[in-house]
Symmetry: C2
Subunit: 226 residues, 2 copies
């Protein structure tokens, strides 16, 4: 269900990559922070070999940037980077919607609708941390991507951009006044999928992501002003 790789029976390097990714996404490791191999290896109770492999993995996920002989640093999500990310995401998720409209089974679409019921419930209770809603939102998006039946699309949006998105969410999702209009837009998208109208679904998804980006941009403006 969740696109995140759960280390079940795997290598130490994979475990380290998983834990590091988590720390980076949640902001426990600040953006731009230098990652000391020896220190991290110590903290994770492993040698430096596996840890170096983990860093190489994270580099592939674009979560860290490595410079030879100068170590690895957590990636910094500046405005331009996020703008580029959202632009690409708008295009790719739009494509996913168009494909999903013809390829998803009725069952899957029904499940998607049920997922939104859950979200609505969660919003009504409201007490829950915004975090859960945010993760739920990503679940929704990923289910549609899976519906595209395009493995490359799943890889791209799942393993890589997904992490950057989560990272961005953690920084900006303190105010969640966008959850209600977002849910509404999700409903519209599911409706379009149910009608098998790919063009419409794509358009709605693109608009939805544009809205999200605009909201984040405004938030960053306010932050910069402060």
């Amino acid at each position: 269900m969740k696109p995140i790789t759960v280390p079940e029976q795997s290598t130490l390097a994979d475990v380290a990559a998983h834990r590091l990714a988590q720390s980076i996404v949640t902001g426990e490791l600040a953006q731009g922070q230098k990652l000391n191999e020896a220190e991290l290896a110590e903290r994770f109770g492993m040698g430096r070999g596996p840890l170096r492999e983990a860093l190489r993995q994270l580099e592939g996920m674009r979560l860290v940037k490595r410079i030879p002989n100068a170590g690895a640093r957590v990636v910094v999500l500046d405005r331009k980077t996020l703008s580029d990310l959202y632009a690409v995401r708008e295009t790719l998720e739009g494509m996913a919607c168009r494909l999903a409209a013809t390829l998803m089974s009725d069952d899957e679409i029904a499940q998607l609708d049920a997922l939104l019921d859950q979200h609505e419930e969660q919003i009504k209770k409201q007490g829950g941390k915004v975090y859960a809603q945010s993760e739920g939102d990503l679940d929704f998006h990923y289910q549609i991507v899976r519906g595209s039946r395009n493995q490359m699309l799943m890889d791209l949006l799942g393993s890589e951009q997904y992490q950057l998105l989560r990272m961005c969410r953690y920084r900006t999702s303190r105010n969640a006044q966008r959850t209600k209009p977002a849910l509404q837009q999700h409903r519209q998208i599911v409706a379009a999928l149910a009608q098998r109208d790919g063009e419409l679904a794509e358009m709605l998804m693109r608009r939805h992501i544009q809205g999200a980006w605009q909201s984040i941009g405004e938030m960053m403006d306010k932050e910069e002003a402060a």
Copy 2:
């Protein structure tokens, strides 16, 4: 100019990754082939540590697939994988064209046109191996992607899909009867860019890539029949 990473003064792992990528792309290492760490380390004259890091890098580039405790194998480009790849590429490069139409400088567009003159010359001489033409084609595409000014797009199409594309080319570019219509399409795209018509440029690029995929699909049909 070239999107490929040239190992200048870098680490052994980077060198190994580069050489391995080259071997995989050119088919020197067959698809699905098992990659023995000790053997490769021996061949490259280095320890297994750097080599393992290189494999992790290649995994990020989707050129190899790793299974814990069972080693790494060269990825296999079956029909579905290539179909997915071309579908994503059609969308992303279309997007790049749309952006490039408004963001590229007149100078850059002129250079693009000059590049096509070069290609035309090369085709006339014909003697040159198809390989060069193929690489030239990828250059053309990447220049447009750069024109989009979207770093994420450049990363996605450059570091990752680019390699898979080259790999595919090596397998299928023995017959190059598509070079002339392709050049024609490239000219049309440049013309659209020069007119700053993003919509048209996107449409032409999508059609161009669709044509390439169709051509490759037919070729695979013939191969399967044999």
